[in-house]
Assembly symmetry: C2
Homo-oligomer: 342 residues x 2
């Protein structure tokens, strides 16, 4: 078989504001690969099927001099994100052709790895689409479930406010909270997303671009729990609308990712109202909650009790556009790149 | 006996920046009182001995339209703060002349109260000066002890950073942390305060006005626990110098009290580092910790194991100046107004 093009998405330059397709990242098709003969040296050959595009990727698009929890991308090398690949060939004990591999993968059509450090073979007992393992059944789903279990201390009848409630994390937080008997207020940036949030049970859902957020929160609050994915003005409004002993779960602050951080001016409310703010990175919670997550989430997704949405874009060459859409919030649902069919 | 002047400190106008003596508050000597004949109607007559001047008083100097945890002062009426008074006369069962009363008192030389709601008779088994019940043995001491017990989750060998470490709260946090085997970094605003912080055990003590705080924290950190009394730039520096799973205890944010709030630009660190920020008001912790507080703190103060400093100013007419000094940090130690001798 003749060598095939092995398309890749390379980190090309550090963005100062929003990441620019073709500049921040570039699609490169200069590499080829001979699938039958490429030497594996005891490793495995993977074919990438689906890749996840997540808000946190913006944080990795930085110079190596800036420290943060996830390492920066390397200029000239493929960017990475969670994905699913299928094993085409294997010289590694315990991994067989046809196995599916989950983990942080380089944005590359075909991948040779000498080991599976950081990756794992996944089963799919409930026959969910593979893309779901990048959303509700994967890292975003874990984020919602584990962050809630660890920090919410939710009581039936309490009120939770969820920002980006139509996203893969927020939409699961809404559904978990409703199952536990809370009143849910949820915000998102389009009427279509508001409709989805109502479908999955939000008691109050609004479009923050066209609604006076502070009025809604004042009327529907006080807030006992705030699930924050955005930071900035929304966090300020939530602090002002919080009740005594409120719990704020800080999952992300996308409003500041492309502006160098959005200032918070009323943090004194944490003193006045005895608020606890808990930030977290899901990987640090996995050791404690991974088993519970699978038992809780997979049956609910398979039965349709918990709903999710996806926006699947075909082709690795579209990665730059989808990254930008996720940063701007113009994507319609959990963003997935379909790199190849099985 | 002829009527005596009953001096008072009145709330006169809402400040926009720092409170101004003679404008924000005024000393008024237009009232008189006949101690022997003033009718008590079943109540008590108190003679005020000492009054506490605390940072939080700034928050009560606001218009009635702004909600916060402590009610606003009433224009034209005496301001209030924690104090100790002695009972001169009593028609109330269970309260006797010579008893000492602790609680929030109006700034007034003599007080007629019809009940003791919000106040309590205190004993002084260890023969501490009464002023100590406004500092280390009172609300500031409770704040240090109860906030630490509730939120620090301290482990021997960890590093704590204490801001305003020479103040009545911070100086006790330092001593509690040293007793529990932590490394203590502490900051204050004068060399004299730095000296005191070293005397009470701080491993690293610095004057934030003359020292590069970020350099100290980078070199001596990462911080596992941050005890915050100031907010603003100090909190930003602490967020940047924090380690993973750090606990931030938010006791106050005086840097913003006179400026409308100091913005925090790097709150995203709570996500990146899985930081928990816990704000609190000590009165909400009292039900849980009051008994432990007395058993822990009073013997340590009486034996001299725990040290404290006080700056006692004589005369109710000085209240406005002392309030301003506490807001600016130019006071040298826990500020107490001595209104009268026993």
């Amino acid at each position: 078989m003749a060598p095939l093009t092995n398309g890749r998405v390379l980190f090309n330059s550090v963005p100062t504001g929003f990441p620019e397709p073709g500049k921040t990242t570039v699609y490169d098709n200069s590499h080829t690969i001979d699938l039958e003969n490429v030497p594996l040296k005891g490793g495995i050959l993977l074919k990438t099927l689906v890749l996840s595009i997540d808000p946190y990727l913006r944080g990795r698009m930085r110079g190596p001099e800036i420290k943060s929890y996830a390492p920066p991308f390397t200029l000239g090398e493929p960017i990475m994100s969670h994905g699913i690949a299928v094993v085409l060939r294997s010289e590694l004990a315990g991994v067989n052709p046809g196995d599916h591999i989950y983990g942080a993968l380089p944005h590359e059509q075909y991948i040779v790895r000498h080991n599976i450090a950081g990756l794992r073979v996944i089963e799919n007992k409930h026959n969910l689409p593979w893309s779901v393992f990048l959303g509700a059944a994967g890292m975003p789903g874990e984020t919602a479930f584990m962050g809630w279990r660890e920090y919410a201390r939710a009581q039936k009848g309490e009120t939770v406010f969820v920002s980006t409630g139509a996203g893969p994390v927020g939409s699961l937080v809404i559904q978990i909270a409703k199952e536990e008997g809370l009143k849910v207020i949820a915000s998102a940036g389009s009427d279509e997303k508001v409709k989805f949030m109502k479908e999955i049970g939000a008691d109050v859902a609004f479009n923050y671009k066209t609604t006076n957020m502070r009025e809604v929160l004042t009327q529907e609050g006080p807030i006992d729990i705030y699930w924050d994915n955005v930071g900035g003005e929304t966090l300020e409004a939530a602090l002002d609308a919080a009740g005594v002993n409120a719990r704020f779960i800080e999952c992300g602050m996308i409003s500041g990712y492309n502006t160098g951080g959005a200032p918070i001016r009323n943090l004194m409310q944490v003193v006045a109202k005895s608020i606890t703010i808990s930030g977290f990175i899901v990987s640090r919670l996995e050791p404690r909650w991974m088993k519970d997550f699978g038992e809780y989430m997979l049956p609910r997704l398979a039965s349709g009790k918990f709903k999710y949405t996806e926006e699947i874009t075909k082709g690795l060459d579209k990665v730059g556009d989808v990254i930008l859409a996720v940063q701007k919030g113009t994507n319609k649902a959990k963003a997935v790149i379909q790199v190849a069919d099985e």
